[in-house]
Symmetry: C2
Subunit: 430 residues, 2 copies
């Protein structure tokens, strides 16, 4: 009876997050057992190099260098994957599920690339595949989305899901730093990787919104299907102009489901001061879920870091353990076969912020305004400063307009003789 309630675990990876998970399940394991009624035993840990210095110091005999020693061990019922990267992580998860083992992973890349296949595999083999830690580390969002909000029709998800870019934008907004200075600061504090490409290009956020959208709308979306713009092109000038207009620029991930399909987008966006995401600063994440009946619900917390991420993993481990003991593993795999199509952004409605550099001569504003009017794009705010230079910037905030119309208008505006360049185009959230 005692034995039945012992959960035997294989751990794939022992980096920052893996070490924290090891710590939580062993040194802090007694408290966890007390709370959950099961004991947790990590039987084997996959590492590349057993001799490497690590935060966690498990007994040497736990280390294996071949994944099969875990994936094929019938005593191991639960596999925790914290290797990161696409392969071999995805292949290991697949094999573990095929052997009927439940899997807990923090791997957004794997879930946003091979998630559909892996979840079907889990269902087929009566195993769980949980991935709460893959989106917004500390914030319990995937489970509430699947369970508590499942009875509502979700209309939209709008979130700040990347702490690195949010920290950089906060530094630019509040400390007046340039992009380069803010990035350097983020790297110094450990909020950005030495190579920040994955974060600053919006790719990380794209993976996360794909996972959120898949669960919210029951249609599997891949990370690579998400249109994404990064924050590298944001100048201090736009941060400042946005501020003057009363807005803050955030990197927003958005999934919206309408009759004609699902649109997915990651893009720098102006957020108005009464918006729940306006005050989300620094490395924090927040996800706003708009339900037909529930209205706006926002989840806010730390998006990353070894400790919050490992806590989310341990919470999944406890869930999976409970299902193993009750014999109910694989009974709540999300359905992802809702037949909705991805929409082109051309048909999307949005408000926009435009910064257009022009030669300061009579009639310039009139000619621009004329083009926009003909394309049925109208303005809610226009700002042109007194200026003695030959070139000057005009800022526009549009009313809601179809992106296609805006693009047509901009094509024409670009050709106007007094227009030097379209310096910035950002969406504006309402």
């Amino acid at each position: 009876m005692k034995d039945k309630r012992e959960i035997v675990i294989g751990l794939l990876g022992l980096g920052t997050v893996g070490s924290q998970v090891y710590h939580a399940l062993t040194e802090k394991g007694d408290a966890l057992s007390e709370k959950t009624g099961f004991t947790y035993r990590i039987k084997r840990i996959l590492v590349r190099n057993p001799d490497k210095a690590r935060q966690a110091k498990p007994p040497r005999e736990l280390f294996v260098t071949q994944a099969n020693e875990i994936l094929e061990d019938p005593e191991i019922k639960l596999v925790i994957e914290v290797l990161g990267g696409l392969q071999p992580a995805a292949a290991h998860i697949e094999k573990a599920l095929e052997h009927g083992k439940s899997v807990v992973t923090a791997n957004k890349g794997v879930m946003a690339t091979h998630g559909e296949k892996l979840l079907m595999l889990a269902s087929k083999h009566n195993a769980d595949l949980f991935f709460e830690a893959s989106v917004a580390g500390a914030i319990p969002i995937l489970r509430p989305l699947q369970e508590s909000m499942a009875t509502d029709r979700i209309l939209q998800i709008v979130g700040i899901v990347n702490g690195t870019t949010n920290f950089i934008l906060s530094q630019m907004t509040h400390e007046g730093k340039t992009y380069e200075e803010a990035l350097k600061e983020a790297q110094k504090l450990g909020y950005a990787e030495p190579d920040p490409t994955f974060d600053v290009t919006g790719m990380d956020a794209a993976y996360k919104i794909a996972i959120l959208a898949s669960l919210a709308f029951g249609h599997y979306a891949k990370g690579e299907e998400v249109l994404h713009e990064g924050i590298q092109g944001i100048s201090s000038l736009d941060i400042l102009h946005a501020k003057e207009l009363g807005y803050r620029i955030k990197l927003i991930a958005k999934a919206q489901c309408e009759k004609d399909g699902l649109s997915l987008l990651v893009a720098p966006t102006l957020i108005p001061p009464n918006h729940p995401l306006y005050n989300v600063e620094g490395p924090y994440n927040a996800i706003l879920v708009r339900g037909e009946r529930l209205g706006d619900i926002m989840f806010y917390g730390q998006g990353a870091g070894g400790v919050p991420t490992s806590t989310a993993i341990v919470s999944d481990v406890v869930h999976a353990a409970k299902n193993i003991v009750l014999g109910t593993s694989g009974k709540s795999i999300p359905k992802l076969d809702n037949p909705i199509s991805l929409r082109s952004p051309e048909s999307l409605l949005s408000r926009f912020y435009l910064r257009i550099q022009v030669e300061d001569r009579p009639g310039t504003l009139a000619s621009i305004a004329q083009v926009f009017a003909e394309e049925e794009a109208s303005f809610s705010a226009v700002l042109q400063r007194e200026n003695t230079a030959r070139l000057t910037d005009i800022l526009f905030l549009t009313h809601t307009v179809r992106e296609g119309s805006l693009q047509r208008a901009l094509l024409r505006v670009r050709k106007l003789p007094s227009v030097k360049e379209i310096s910035a185009i950002f969406r504006v959230e309402s």
Copy 2:
């Protein structure tokens, strides 16, 4: 096989929330069945008067006026209680659980008064007792608190859990209304009851923080054990002064667990602008959970209303249904036997806002400051305006001080000859 997956339900009550629940489980029942894999059949509905006009129009033959026709019906596996009020709701829930039926309720009064006994009963009879809708209507907070955050040690919960008072305070802050005007507006819009006592005295918030604290700290706390101050004493003057100092006054419910015990409090509190609760306005609720490892996590959404509340109930119904089908009802009843004691507020540390009315003569400020210094309370801000009247207000923001010390200081300050009255004392959140 088909039959086994039909969940037969008894509904206690058919008011605003009950009608919405009926609607969701019947007219919208097909979509729900599609999503959850079960069908839901409401077999009987308890009403006092079958002839009363109602939002929902169930077939007349569903109505019963005797609770036992539901509570003793062996075919009914799940009871939804939306009667409100303490009795007979609590007695009905008790009887349903004794008959092994799972119960879903939105009744905070019952849970914060008889919750411990009812949960033990549920566990004994292998039945579920779910009450997500009892706190912060639309916001999924109780389940994440019990499941996703269960592996962390929770240090503190700070929340805005009453939409009525938050709406009134928002109106006073942003529209410059008096308390009476704001209350009238809230009543007009349906945010406040004709008799607003339960909300404006902080009693409603006290029930909710008791429920949150019970789950977060594993120690059952009753609503009536929570010290609570309401918002009736808040003058427009204090709202204005708080604003000038950069703060907003909110009715804050707070539960804090330290070595020497658990403290529970509902009180008007000044919130600084960088605080996650600062921007929670109007009828919205937000609950900030501070975990040892997870850091700050905030949940934000609509706190009340028939539609959000019913959606939370339906989500609980789906959970309970799943457990009924899997035979796992009653397996996740929270443990509430953690032996911690309630702390007296005397020993609590906090910052305070004080408004003291004095006669404007030399030495007044010095004599007040002297008393506070002797009681080891120091100030982070003092504000006295130029004034031609004989009486003037001095505002103080204290540094962190033990409430006992502050009370001693105030007793002495009151006796100073130039002090007319202590006009306001509010806590300040850091």
